[in-house]
């Protein structure tokens, strides 16, 4: 076997030292009737060359964003990943290490986490960031739980339909047994209607969840929503797009109490949905309710600045059933990648990236809607995504034929929004060229 170390001679010496006759002897504490009599029914072992061939064959059976022009978004985006991010992310001193429980053996990781937290705090305008969560969806659900425990309100949470449908599904799963009502708000205009929101919140509302820009790409009115939530004594959980903060106001400035995001845009490949980076930041006064790991600055015994994991009395390995969450791992490697990404882009780079997304997506929307068949589904300002209505209501056929022509043209909305069965969601990142956008317009137009 390729990764074993002991020779047969080693094994004999080791067994003798242990006082066992055979390897099988080592398992004699497992009752015989529970032991397998034969081998597992698994495919046979492959050499490295065979494995390489097989995986390349599988990879070749997929069509990917390198061969198809990708206009898919909905929480996962084909943003550019600078080579520096891959180079640092593949340093095995980073990726083959583990949770920095021994601070002296992990100052590299701990400083990176501290820098990550600092960058997220600056980017969002929030006081505190944790060391990251699994992904945007579970971070949102955890933020809702955090709001419930902070406000001690177990009545309801209010969630508009313009929040990512899979994030909403995750919230519903997490709250299933906790006896908290979820008040869903319909968003027929593509955004949260503040009058409806004001009617939905009451003195038992723990949280209002808002995504801005929302799942449809539309800009919400976070400041107004924050006021409505906070006037009722609820917290605002704000889901943001990190790239959008190159141009848009920060969730902290808009009044968010807890800000969460999918951080995949910051240097993580799409990899069919994961692993990604759950970003979570909050008000200073909520920090002791925050789930997950947090790094802090301190000094060592010589007075030298250093970093440790801190505020661990919130966490499961100390508090067990009373912990703020069961979360144990963070997404260290992707927090590293996000840190490198933000360091590489800097303020101007992030601003230009956001601007390219904005300009190109507006160009794409405009060009598409010059055809009578297509129109914007919502009359709202958008950032890098938008919803297109197909007057002929043949979205599946349209998208299929675009795929056949080399374009991942959009995401059909029917399965989440039956009322939008004639609509699809298009995302345009800074990577898409004018040629690709014009091609998309042509291909979608041709199939009319």
């Amino acid at each position: 076997m390729p990764y074993l170390y002991n020779t047969p001679e080693d094994q004999r010496e080791m067994l003798a030292a242990i006082g066992a006759d055979s390897l099988a002897d080592l398992f004699d504490t497992i009752p015989g009737d529970l032991q397998l009599s034969g081998l597992l029914d698994l495919p046979p072992a492959l050499s490295e060359m065979e494995l390489d061939r097989e995986l390349n064959q599988f990879a070749g059976c997929n069509q990917h964003a390198g061969t198809l022009a990708c206009f898919l978004g909905g929480g996962s985006y084909d943003h550019f990943v600078p080579a520096v991010v891959d180079a640092i992310g593949s340093r095995s001193e980073f990726y083959t290490s583990y949770t920095p429980y021994q601070a002296e053996a992990s100052q590299g990781n701990l400083q990176v986490v501290f820098e990550y937290q600092s960058l997220i705090a600056r980017l969002t305008g929030m006081d505190i960031s944790n060391a990251s969560m699994y992904d945007g969806g579970s971070a949102t659900a955890e933020a809702v739980l955090m709001a419930i425990s902070t406000t001690r309100r177990h009545g309801n949470v209010v969630v508009p339909h313009s929040v990512h449908p899979e994030y909403r599904a995750t919230i519903a799963t997490y709250l299933e047994n906790l006896d908290v009502e979820i008040r869903w708000l319909k968003t027929p205009m593509g955004v949260t209607e503040t009058e409806h929101l004001a009617q939905a919140v009451d003195d038992q509302t723990a949280a209002v969840v808002l995504q801005h820009p929302n799942f449809f790409g539309c800009l919400e009115e976070p400041v107004k929503v924050a006021q409505i939530a906070q006037n009722a004594g609820a917290l605002l959980v704000s889901i943001f797009d990190p790239i959008s903060l190159g141009l848009l106001t920060r969730p902290g400035d808009d009044g968010a109490n807890i800000a969460v995001a999918e951080g995949q845009s910051l240097g993580t490949p799409m990899t069919y949905g994961g692993p990604y980076l759950g970003i979570m930041a909050c008000d200073k006064k909520l920090v002791r309710r925050m789930p997950g790991r947090i790094a802090g600055q301190t000094v060592d015994r010589h007075g030298k600045r250093c970093f440790v994991l801190t505020l661990q009395t919130r966490e499961q390995h100390i508090r067990r059933e009373k912990a703020t969450s069961n979360v144990c791992t963070n997404q260290g490697l992707f927090a590293l990648r996000a840190t490198v990404y933000l360091a590489q882009l800097g303020p101007q780079g992030l601003r230009e990236t956001a601007n390219l997304c904005l300009q190109k997506s507006h160009y794409a929307s405009q060009q598409l809607c010059r055809q009578p068949r297509f129109s914007p589904a919502f009359d709202q300002p958008t950032f890098k995504e938008f919803v297109i209505r197909d007057a002929e209501n043949r979205v599946d056929e349209l998208l299929q034929s675009a795929t056949d022509s080399g374009y991942l043209a959009g995401i059909p909305l029917k399965s989440w929004y039956p009322e939008l069965a004639d609509c699809f969601l298009v995302a345009v990142t800074e990577k898409r060229t004018r040629e690709e956008i014009d091609g998309l317009v042509r291909v979608l137009g041709d199939s009319a």
Partner: protein, 495 residues
């Protein structure tokens, strides 16, 4: 050799006007921002990020990387974490564009390669656990625990039974009781015996029709196989409860025994431990779960299914063979967005295909051989309260040393760093005083283990003060953790 000027914080390295990334010019007609977005939505200034050059960024992070111990640089016997070798072939495979550049909402017809990999992984995990169905969705072990407990809760709801209690032995991982709380259950801790096993009288006393699930780690966190496993499962089943296996320690039993065969109804895997996905400095992990046939309807959506021949013919020309199945009406729903931590699952797939059935059994045999060999050497220096034999790891105690010479488990852990060994897990499990939990894994061998044992033996003879002040060779030593928690500085202040 130490470069300290480049490992200052990014914010201290920054100078106004410096930049690394250059973006292409806008190739579509550019419009003023005020035409595109309402002015209230626009930030007045660019984000307050550091301004650096590319060589500076690289030198900063490369130098920081050298301040870590890692599996690729050091023996890392961190108990309970299974710090085995992370194969390079898996890393290369997972970065193939045909696997890494896939959007989660591509049509199934464009994803037949990845869906087949994931389908076959589901099948392999089912076979290894002896259970009937598998969801690859959870993002980590603790997330798998939560998903499985929600599955259990949906199952009992369907049966019309109200069960509120989850039983957890007192030496379990902290995630077990924390997951139970999140799933809406009440945790009842059950004592283990001095030998480290479930106390059968305790168990019987706590069993009732209120018990939904017993969560058990087997082999346990003490590295012991529970001798009464079958009886424990039978008793839980007799009151209508379910048995959950915390699969953190699967490395010890791969191909030797199967959770489904010893009575588990559900389990999670930690592919980042057992199947060599790297730990990434704290993640990502993945937490696939396997369950019995009767619990399968409640698993999270989606699952990958293979269409049978009849359906394929019925559905016309050339429909996709593999597809995502969302139409599972009894499912608990989603526990996260998108399919799962596919990058980690790909590495698990590569690991399993590299080993095959014989190889997987040999992994367990060598993991257990290494642990027992190291145990045979360590027990001559430090007491190992729970006996002479172990599975994949064992727990020594520095309690006596602490009483006699004031040397703590932490002192030993810190001093080991000076000799180029990562520390074992210390102070866990909570049931052993001054616990030192050692897990060598199968990818180490006799030479390394002998060197470790000799260093340990040497350390125990050293002047206690030298140990209290250790480590002496690392960039920092003994951070003030109390100060960090009392006066938290959690980010660099914005100027």
């Amino acid at each position: 050799m130490k470069n300290t000027q480049d490992t200052e914080l990014l914010f201290d390295l920054s100078r106004p006007g410096r930049r690394a990334a250059r973006l292409p010019a806008c190739d579509v007609p550019e419009r003023p921002l005020s035409e595109l977005l309402p002015s209230t939505a626009l930030a007045q200034t660019p984000p307050n990020l550091p301004e650096l050059s590319e060589p500076q960024v690289v030198r900063h992070f490369v130098n920081l990387s050298t301040q870590n111990m890692s599996v690729d640089t050091h023996f890392y016997p961190l108990g309970s974490c299974t710090m085995k070798y992370n194969p390079k072939r898996n890393e290369r495979a997972a970065s193939l564009p045909g696997l890494a550049d896939l959007h989660p909402y591509q049509p199934d017809s464009t994803l037949q390669g990845i869906l087949q990999i994931l389908y076959e992984l589901q099948e392999m995990l089912q076979e290894i656990s002896g259970l009937a169905a598998c969801s690859l969705q959870p993002a980590a072990g603790a997330h798998g625990e939560l998903a499985a407990l929600l599955v259990a809760s949906a199952y009992f709801r369907d049966l019309g039974q109200k069960r509120s209690i989850v039983l957890v032995p007192d030496n379990a991982h902290g995630t077990n009781p924390a997951s139970a709380t999140m799933a809406g259950f009440q945790t009842v801790s059950i004592k283990t015996t001095s030998a480290g096993f479930v106390d059968m009288a305790e168990l019987t006393a706590h069993l009732s029709e209120q018990v939904a699930v017993l969560m058990i780690t087997n082999p346990s966190t003490l590295g012991l196989f529970e001798p009464n496993m079958r009886q424990i499962a039978d008793q839980v089943h007799a009151v209508g409860g379910l048995v959950y296996l915390d699969g953190a320690n699967m490395n010890a039993i791969l191909g030797i025994t199967r959770p489904g065969d010893f009575g588990a109804d559900m389990q999670h895997y930690n592919p980042h431990k057992t199947f060599s996905g790297p730990h990434g400095g704290g993640g990502p992990g993945a937490g696939p779960i396997c369950v019995t046939e009767r619990l399968a309807p409640y698993l999270p959506v989606p699952l990958v299914v293979r269409q049978n021949e009849q359906d394929l013919q019925k559905n016309g020309d050339s429909p996709p063979v593999y597809r995502l199945d969302f139409s599972r009406p009894k499912s608990i729903g989603q526990v996260r967005a998108f399919f799962g931590n596919v990058g980690v699952l790909l590495r698990a797939y590569a690991y399993l295909r590299t080993h095959g059935p014989e190889g997987l059994r040999r992994v367990a045999e060598n993991a257990v051989l290494n642990a027992n060999y190291l145990l045979s050497r360590v027990k001559t220096m430090l007491p190992v309260p729970q006996g002479d034999r172990c599975m994949h790891e064992f727990v020594a105690s520095a309690a006596q040393l602490k009483a006699e010479k004031n040397i703590s488990a932490m002192d030993i852990a810190k001093r080991l760093l000076d000799y180029g060994f990562h520390a074992p897990t210390v102070y866990f499990p909570l049931t052993v005083a001054e616990a030192i939990m050692i897990e060598p894994t199968e990818s180490e061998g006799k030479q390394t283990l002998d060197a470790f044992a000799e260093v340990l033996s040497h350390i125990l003879q050293e002047d206690p003060q030298l140990l209290h002040d250790a480590p002496h060779t690392t960039s920092i030593s003994r951070p003030d953790e109390v100060r960090a928690a009392r006066h938290p500085i959690l980010s660099h202040p914005e100027e």
